[in-house]
Symmetry: C2
Subunit: 469 residues, 2 copies
C-alpha cells in the first residue's frame, strides 16, 4: 500500500513537473487552459485520478486556477514584456539598453565618445534644409498620402543602383523601404524567426542586436570575431551545437571593432551557411563610410540566403527615418504583407526627402568630406588613446569606431561609471559582448572624441579604477 | 507477450504524439533539440527504449533528424512567416490584407470608396508645405539627430492637453511617440501579448487588427458589435470561454460601423474587464473627426487597464508618420526600452512637423471645415446608397464610414470583384468580420463616394451578382 501511494505521489509529481515545464517553455501561457484530465492522463500514461491530484496541488500552489465546469487554467497574467526579463539579468551598466538610453538622454552639455553616431554639426543640415524647401515647393511631392506597399519607386530604383556599386545585385522589386535600419532588421527578424529559434551574433557585436533579438524571444549564441571576420572554427561548432536559424552581422565596417571581412572568410562562411541551411542578415548601415569597397556576403551570395539592410541615419539624418531591406524576390510579397500589417507602410515624406538628397549631388560631396574628416579624427583619436596606454584591437580602414583595450585589465564598466559622473558617456566592452568577455574594452566614436575633456576624464577615471575598490 | 509489445507500441505512440503536439504548439521549433532520451523517459514515465523507438520512428517519418553524438532535432526549417499561414486560410477577396493592397496599389485613375482614408485634396497640403518651410528655416529644428526615447517633449506636452479635451488624463511622461498609429498598436501588442494569448476584437472591426494580430501569433475571438458598443452578454461569455489577455477596439467612431460607444456599455464593459483581469487597447485614431465628444474607455478607466492610441494619419498626413501611445505611468520605462530595441526611436522630423501644424492654428481650422464637408458627404452618400436599396446599419454621428447592407442577401465579395474590373475598389464586409458573418455588407468611405461612377459601377455589379452565377 505504501509503495503504491508513493508511486502515485511520484506520478503526480511528474504531471506537475510536465505542466510547470510547459509553462516555463511558454507552451502554456498565463491564462491558457491546460489539457483536460482525460487528455493529460492519456498523454502521460497515468490514471485520471493522478492527474486530478496533480492539478489540485498546482491549484493549491497558485500555479493553476480551477474554473467550475470549464477546467484548469494557468494562473494570473504574465506581466507586460520587460526585455530585461527575457535574458539573463545584467547589471544596468552593461545592459545593451543602458548605452542607448545614456546616449539619447544625456543632456546637451555631455560628451558622448561612447555613442554610435556623428555629432549634428557633422551631418548635412544645410542640404536637409534645401531638400525640405524643394519638397515644399514641388506640386507633386508626397505630402499627405500613404506610401505604396514597398515604398517610393524612385528611391528603390536608385538604391538598386547604389547596391550594385558595392557588388550587390538587387532589382528595385527586391527592395522594401522601412522607417530606419533598426525597423528593417526588426521586420526581417519577424519574417524569418520563430520564438525559440537560435540566432548567431558576433562576439562582440552591435549592442542593440541583443536587445532586439530578446524582443523576438529567440536565443542568441555568440561567435568570436577576428580582424578578418568571425572565427570560422567556432562558427562551425556553433552551427552544429545550436542549429541556428539566422546569423546577424556587419561585414564592411564591423561594429564595434571596425574590422573588415576577408574575402576568403566570406567564401567559407557562405559554404558553411549552405551546408547548415543558415540564413544571414547583413546589416550594412555603415557602407557609405567606406573608403574602398570591402567584401559583402550579399555580393558573394547573390541574395540567395543573405538579406541586406541599409539606412541613411548614420550619414545623412536620423531624424528622417529611412532604411531598406534587399532580399530574394520570392520573399518580397510576404515581407510586404507583414510590413503593412505591422506599420501600414513607411513614411513617404522622409523617403522623398532622402531621395532628393541622394540624387542632387549633395550627398556625394558630403560623403567625400566626411570620410576625410573621419580619417583625420581616427588618427588623432588613436594617437591620444595610445598616450593613455589604450591600444586598438585593430586599426580600422574607415568608419567611426575604435575598439580598444584598457591597460592593466581595468574594468571598463567601472571606468564608464566614473566618467559618467563627469558627464562623459563611454561605451564599456561588455555591452557588446554576449559572453561578457570584453570587460577591459571600450568602443570609441572618433567623431565624438575631439575634446581634451574626453581624455582628461578618461585618464582620471582610469586612475581611480586602478586603485583598490 | 503480445500484450506487452502492443503496450510498448502504444507507449511509443504517446511519445510520438507528445513530440508532434509540442511541434504543432511551437513549443519545439524547427531545428530545436528535442528532450534527451532520459529526460523524455522521466517526463512521460516510460522506458528509455520506448523513447528511442519513438524518436527513431519520427526520424523515419522525417519529423526529426538524428545528429551523431548530439541528439535528436526537429527537422528542417519552417518557411518564413506568411501571415496567411498563421490563421485560417481565407479567400484572397476577403483576406484582411487584400483591401490594404488594393487600396494602396490601385492606380491613380481608380475610385476607392472602400479605402480607409481621405482623398489627398481633402488633406491640408498647403499647411504641410508651410510647416515644411518653417522647419527648414528654424535654426533649432531637429533635422538630423535621433529623437529622445519617448519622442519630442513639446509634442507630448501638447498631446497631453489634447487628450484632456476628450476626458483622458495622461501626463506628458505617460505618452510615447511612434511612427504612426499602426506602429503604436504593434508596439503595445508586443509589450502586452505572448504568442498563444487570446485577444478579443469586435465583429466587425478594422480589418488590419486581424492581420496585425496574426503577426503576433495570438488567437483572436470576435464579439458581435451593436450600435451602442460590443454585445455585453457575448462579451462576458467570451471572457469566460477564452480568458483573453486583451481587447482591441475603437470607441468613438467605430470602424467599420461608425457606431459610438454608449456610456452605460462603457461602464459595464470596464466592470467585466476588471473582474476578468482584461487589458484594453482603445485605438482612437478617428477622434479628431468627432463633432461631439463620445465616451471613451480610457476616460472612464483613467488609463489603469486601458491604453489609448492616436495618430494624425487620417486627418493631417499619412506621409508624415506620427502616432502615439498613452498608458499607465509604470509601464512607460519598459515600453520605451522595447521601442528603442525595435526601432531606435520615432522620427523627430515628422514629429516636429506635426507639432507645428497642431499649434499654429491651421489644424483646428482644417478640422472645422473637414467635419462640415464630411457631414455633407455622409448625407449625400446615404441618400445615393438608399436609392440603390443599400441601407445603413446605423447612421453614424461623424467620421468617414457607412456600414451598409446590400439588398437581397447579395454576396459583397462578388460585388467587390465585379466592381474592381471597372477600377472601383469596394470593401466587402467579411474583410472586417472574423466570423465571416457580414457577407452582404460593404463599408463605404463617404469622402471617396462623390463620383457618379461609384454608384453606376455598384449598380451594375449588383445586377450582375443578382443573376445566378
Amino acid at each position: 500500500m505504501e509503495d503504491i501511494s508513493q508511486d502515485t505521489a511520484t506520478r503526480a509529481g511528474l504531471v506537475m513537473e510536465t505542466v510547470r515545464t510547459r509553462i516555463a517553455a511558454r507552451a502554456l501561457a498565463a491564462g491558457a487552459r491546460v489539457p483536460s484530465i482525460r487528455t493529460m492522463s492519456e498523454q502521460l500514461g497515468v490514471s485520471k485520478s493522478t492527474v486530478v491530484e496533480a492539478y489540485e496541488r498546482l491549484v493549491a500552489q497558485g500555479t493553476l486556477v480551477a474554473r467550475r465546469g470549464s477546467g484548469f487554467y494557468v494562473a494570473g497574467h504574465a506581466p507586460p514584456l520587460a526585455l530585461g526579463a527575457l535574458g539573463p539579468r545584467l547589471d544596468r551598466e552593461i545592459d545593451p539598453l543602458w548605452l542607448t538610453r545614456q546616449s539619447l538622454e544625456s543632456d546637451s552639455g555631455a560628451l558622448r565618445p561612447g555613442c554610435g553616431w556623428l555629432p549634428e554639426s557633422w551631418l548635412p543640415q544645410d542640404a536637409v534644409r534645401r531638400a525640405l524647401r524643394a519638397l515644399a515647393r514641388d506640386p507633386g511631392a508626397p505630402l499627405t498620402d500613404y506610401a505604396s506597399p514597398s515604398g517610393l519607386p524612385a528611391l528603390r530604383q536608385h538604391l538598386s543602383w547604389r547596391l550594385a556599386q558595392r557588388g550587390v545585385e538587387a532589382e528595385p522589386r527586391q527592395i522594401v523601404l522601412t522607417d530606419g535600419g533598426t525597423q528593417a532588421l526588426d521586420l526581417v527578424c519577424r519574417f524569418l524567426l520563430e520564438p525559440g529559434d537560435t540566432v548567431l551574433i558576433d562576439d562582440p557585436c552591435y549592442f542593440n542586436f541583443q536587445a532586439l533579438l530578446r524582443a523576438h524571444r529567440v536565443r542568441v549564441a555568440g561567435v568570436p570575431y577576428t580582424p578578418a571576420g568571425p572565427d570560422l572554427a567556432a562558427f562551425e561548432r556553433a552551427l552544429i551545437e545550436h542549429r541556428p536559424r539566422l546569423y546577424v552581422t556587419n561585414s564592411a565596417i564591423h561594429n564595434p571593432t571596425g574590422a573588415t571581412l576577408a574575402p576568403t572568410v566570406a567564401h567559407r562562411l557562405l559554404k558553411l551557411a549552405e551546408a547548415h541551411d543558415l540564413l544571414i542578415v547583413e546589416d550594412d548601415i555603415f557602407a557609405d563610410f567606406e573608403t574602398g569597397p570591402a567584401p559583402r556576403l550579399a555580393a558573394f551570395d547573390g541574395l540567395a540566403r543573405v538579406v541586406t539592410i541599409g539606412s541613411f541615419s548614420k550619414t545623412m539624418s536620423a531624424a528622417a527615418r529611412c532604411g531598406f531591406i534587399a532580399a530574394r524576390a520570392d520573399w518580397i510579397e510576404s515581407l510586404v504583407d507583414l510590413k503593412l500589417a505591422v506599420s501600414f507602410g513607411n513614411g513617404e515624406l522622409t523617403a522623398d526627402l532622402v531621395y532628393r538628397l541622394l540624387v542632387d549631388g549633395t550627398y556625394r560631396h558630403h560623403l567625400d568630406a566626411l570620410r576625410a574628416r573621419l580619417a583625420d579624427a581616427m588618427s588623432e583619436t588613436l594617437q591620444r588613446l595610445g598616450a593613455l596606454g589604450i591600444e586598438p584591437w585593430t586599426r580600422p580602414q574607415a568608419g567611426l569606431f575604435v575598439w580598444a583595450r584598457l591597460p592593466g585589465g581595468l574594468d571598463a564598466a567601472r571606468v564608464a561609471r566614473e566618467a559618467l559622473e563627469a558627464d562623459v558617456v563611454l561605451a564599456p566592452g561588455n555591452v557588446f559582448s554576449v559572453s561578457h568577455s570584453a570587460g577591459d574594452f571600450l568602443r570609441f566614436n572618433v567623431s565624438q572624441c575631439n575634446r581634451p575633456k574626453v581624455y582628461e576624464t578618461l585618464q582620471r577615471a582610469m586612475e581611480r579604477c586602478a586603485q583598490p575598490a
